[in-house]
């Protein structure tokens, strides 16, 4: 078996922490993991991705090859779409409808696509998708920093590969200092998808 997860977002959204939760879960259930994150200067407001590759056998490429992503998590409205080549019609995605404008969209040089355009584009990638408002929900709960964990909570609802309880335990174990906020976000994410 193999399970390849792409997380796409903007620097500062906590994609690396989210990738750590998924990797720790995979190890806890006795599987092999290879992951890679964007680190360095690109983290300052640039596009960032984490590739998490899980398998019961050997994993070679740290990058998910074209069309092989089983899951895509878009932490920002357009960042997941940037990596559509990694998806196939079987990819399950969760898209956080949260717009972070780019320099060029602010200057009016590029156009930031509308919600409808984004939802339609995501639908073209795969039928198995969910569009949620993770950042908005986390903001309302006063835990905006945990929007990343909210996305992971939502993932455990839609992807049977991830056991809700066991992933939740990892959330608690990895960052005990922020366990209260993170677990609140995790549960909210789980509930957000019906």
């Amino acid at each position: 078996m193999k399970h390849d997860i792409l997380i796409a977002g903007v620097g500062g959204q906590g994609t690396i922490f989210a990738s750590r939760i998924l990797s720790s879960y995979a190890m806890a259930i006795g599987l092999n993991v290879l992951s890679t994150d964007t680190v360095g200067a690109a983290q300052r407001g640039g596009s960032v991705t984490s590739h998490v590759r899980i398998s019961d056998g050997e994993i070679y490429s740290p990058l998910i090859p074209r069309n092989r992503a089983d899951v895509m998590l878009g932490f920002e409205s357009i960042e997941m779409l940037r990596h559509r080549k990694l998806a196939s019609k079987d990819t399950v995605y969760i898209l956080n409808m949260h717009k972070v404008p780019t320099t060029f969209t602010m200057m009016g040089i590029d156009k930031y696509p509308s919600d409808d355009e984004i939802i339609e584009a995501a639908r073209r990638i795969s039928e198995k998708g969910y569009v949620i408002r993770a950042t908005e929900t986390a903001e309302r709960l006063g835990i905006v920093q945990s929007a990343n964990v909210l996305m992971i909570g939502a993932l455990t609802k839609v992807d049977p590969f991830f056991s809700r309880d066991k992933v939740r335990k990892q959330v608690e174990a990895i960052a005990p200092k922020f366990a209260a906020e993170n677990l609140k976000a995790f549960d909210a994410g789980y509930e957000l998808i019906s």
Partner: protein, 617 residues
């Protein structure tokens, strides 16, 4: 007692060093290797330092090695370029205690000013042996082997991980760490005095030639070692096409072959020099081989040489034209190559949908509330007014060269801003020439360019951005920070004190105070020769992580009646917390950090608030 851990490639490299009994770790920060020295901090007995620059790092490391202590200098590819002069002596003298140079490459220039293949410098030029890891577990083994081989051969070994190895996390076996040996220095002037002295008994030849002869003879010894190396291997297959994978190229081949219905023979080559007899036996029944390597056709050319010398007729393809000659490899590059070469191969292809729109590109910029934004804004206003030219340098301020600011006209390598400005001034451009340089870059080698400019009375205005840290690569401390990598208090080498010692005009400003920066720059333009403006405020992001308040919160709001929609706050200043809604500026209050600076940016006073207030008055 072996134990499995989930480690980043960079952490695995440090762990391997600790397990090898490394006593000294040196380096200069830069993606992809910044995490390596930091990962050594859990071993309190190891001396770890962020050196002033990479040449210094290599020199410190060799000093330790000559005392029989194992050392690890760590740098990114540009940094390895900086070591070149010393490297071309170290290769002739050899080492005593194991010395393993870790040089991280960034094919694709994902987080660099250029892309290049350091194997050319360290192997083709310096003739040092190289390991090119294909995965995280392997880089750990390679480091450990490199230490014992370095001592066995007396040569500096180089391990060249690419960014994807440095930043990958994988499960690796960890063993016991080993304490370093006690230091012991024995004179060996015949080796360590690199000078043009005649060596008795060799017919009048001088030492450099003799040491070169030593290095040449070493090549046979390391060839034999690499012939037996476990990092090179053959996987048999069918047909007349063979795939050769070097370092991460091997991982991409293995990944791609899972999706192809054919079993091609694979040769894994992760060492330099190459294992010649294994190479020759691999191609016995083949007519074509394709070499997948990052980034230049280094192995490809060596294979051609081996086959030419032995009269073997075989087609060798790779980075010299058949595959892309620039950018990163990927499993897709391997699949494309297979399709091109073998029309009978079938690979499952699914395609990607069209989205109906172009996904807008995203560039990095300064953080919201960063002092560099108002400082650069002030420089832009002054420079525009006087039709100035601004040369840039490496650091967070370099994002001022991108839209919307588009201030700096040049960005090259560490420390080039002031010398390039000097050249422009002496060329007689007849416009004010400014340069922007950060503190870490100043210590790295910017200081040398400044000394040169002062010496020649160059008409240059240098804006020194002193934020107390190496912010862009992750807040590594430097000589001016007052702390070392372990956070211990150390002497501060003060940028300002150095600037003052040069006996040229120095003006100190608060980067958030746009008016003050402008005034200082206006005055500096009138100075003869070099004039320095030192902008001093700690990095906001680092301060907030340390719980230090830099700014008195100063909320702002847009008065839409006053806002004319001129977009200066967006198209010139470019704070990501300001956008335009229905033709008027609008503050994104959840992103805004309340620095208040934009009050001074708006020409019609439409951004209302009390403006910037320094914390603590």
């Amino acid at each position: 007692m072996a134990e499995k851990r989930f480690l980043m490639g960079n952490e695995a490299i440090a762990r391997a060093g600790a397990e090898s009994g490394v006593g000294i770790v040196t380096g200069y920060p830069g993606t992809p290797i910044s995490e390596i020295p930091q990962s050594y901090l859990e071993y309190p007995w190891i001396h770890v330092e962020w050196s002033s620059n990479e040449k210094v790092a290599l020199e410190v490391a060799l000093g330790a090695s000559l005392c029989n202590v194992r050392s690890m200098p760590v740098m990114k590819h540009n940094g390895t370029n900086v070591t070149t002069d010393f490297l071309m002596h170290l290769n002739f003298t050899g080492v005593v205690g194991g010395l393993v140079l870790v040089s991280g490459d960034d094919p694709g220039g994902l987080s660099s000013q250029n892309e290049e293949d350091t194997r050319i410098l360290v192997h083709d030029y310096a003739e040092l042996p190289v390991f090119d890891p294909s995965n995280v577990a392997e880089v750990k083994d390679m480091i450990k082997d490199a230490y014992s081989l370095s001592e066995k051969t007396k040569l500096c070994f180089v391990v060249r991980p690419v960014i994807r190895i440095c930043h990958s996390r994988a499960i690796v076996e960890c063993e016991e760490v080993v304490k370093p040996r006690p230091a012991e220095f024995k004179d060996d002037r015949a080796r360590f005095i690199m000078s043009a002295v005649e060596v008795p008994g060799y017919g009048g030849i001088k030492r450099p030639q003799l040491r070169h002869r030593w290095l040449n003879e070493k090549q046979n010894e390391i060839r034999k070692i690499m012939e037996e190396s476990r990092y090179n291997s053959v996987e048999p297959g069918e047909g007349s096409i063979g795939l050769v994978g070097c370092g991460i190229g091997y991982a991409y081949i293995k990944e791609a072959l899972q999706y192809v219905d054919k079993r091609y023979p694979v040769l894994k080559l992760c060492t330099l020099p190459l294992p010649e007899s294994r190479v020759v036996s691999f191609v016995k029944n083949l007519d074509t081989i394709v070499v997948f390597e990052e980034l230049a056709p280094v192995v490809e050319r060596k294979l051609k040489e081996i086959f030419f010398d032995r009269g073997i007729g075989i087609k060798v393809l790779g980075r010299s034209g058949f595959l892309p000659s620039d950018g990163e490899l990927s499993p897709e590059v391997v699949l494309e190559a297979i399709k091109k070469l073998d029309p009978t191969a079938k690979a499952e292809e699914l395609g990607a949908p069209e989205l109906g729109f172009q996904v807008p590109g995203r560039m990095r910029t300064q953080c919201i509330g960063c002092g560099y934004r108002p400082m650069l804004h002030a420089l832009k206003l002054v420079s525009q007014k006087h039709k100035g030219i601004v040369t840039g340098d490496i650091g967070c301020h370099d994002a001022g060269s991108y839209p919307p600011m588009e201030l700096q006209s040049t960005i090259y390598c560490m420390g080039s801003s002031i010398p390039m400005a000097t050249g422009m001034a002496f060329a007689g451009v007849n416009r004010p020439v400014f340069s922007v340089i950060g503190d870490s870059t100043f210590y790295h080698n910017g200081i040398i360019g400044l000394i040169n400019a002062v010496y020649h009375r160059a008409k240059v205005i240098a804006l020194m951005c002193d934020n107390g840290t190496t912010a862009m690569t992750g807040f590594q401390p430097h000589a001016g920070s007052g702390v070392n990598i372990r956070g211990e208090s150390v002497p501060t080498v003060d940028v300002l004190a150095i600037c003052k010692a040069l006996d040229v005009p120095v003006r100190v400003v608060d980067p958030y105070d746009i008016k003050a920066v402008k005034n200082a720059l206006e005055e500096a333009i009138k100075d003869e020769g070099v004039s320095l403006v030192v902008s001093r405020r700690p990095c906001l992001l680092l301060s907030s992580r340390q719980g230090v308040e830099l700014l008195e919160p100063s909320p702002v709001e847009v008065n839409t009646d006053k806002c004319t929609g001129c977009k200066i706050c967006i198209n010139t200043f470019g704070c990501p917390a300001i956008s335009v809604i229905e033709g008027k500026a609008s503050i994104n209050q959840s992103a805004c950090v309340r620095c208040g600076v934009c009050v001074d940016v708006c020409p019609v006073g439409a951004i209302e608030g009390e403006g910037y207030k320094r914390a603590g008055g």
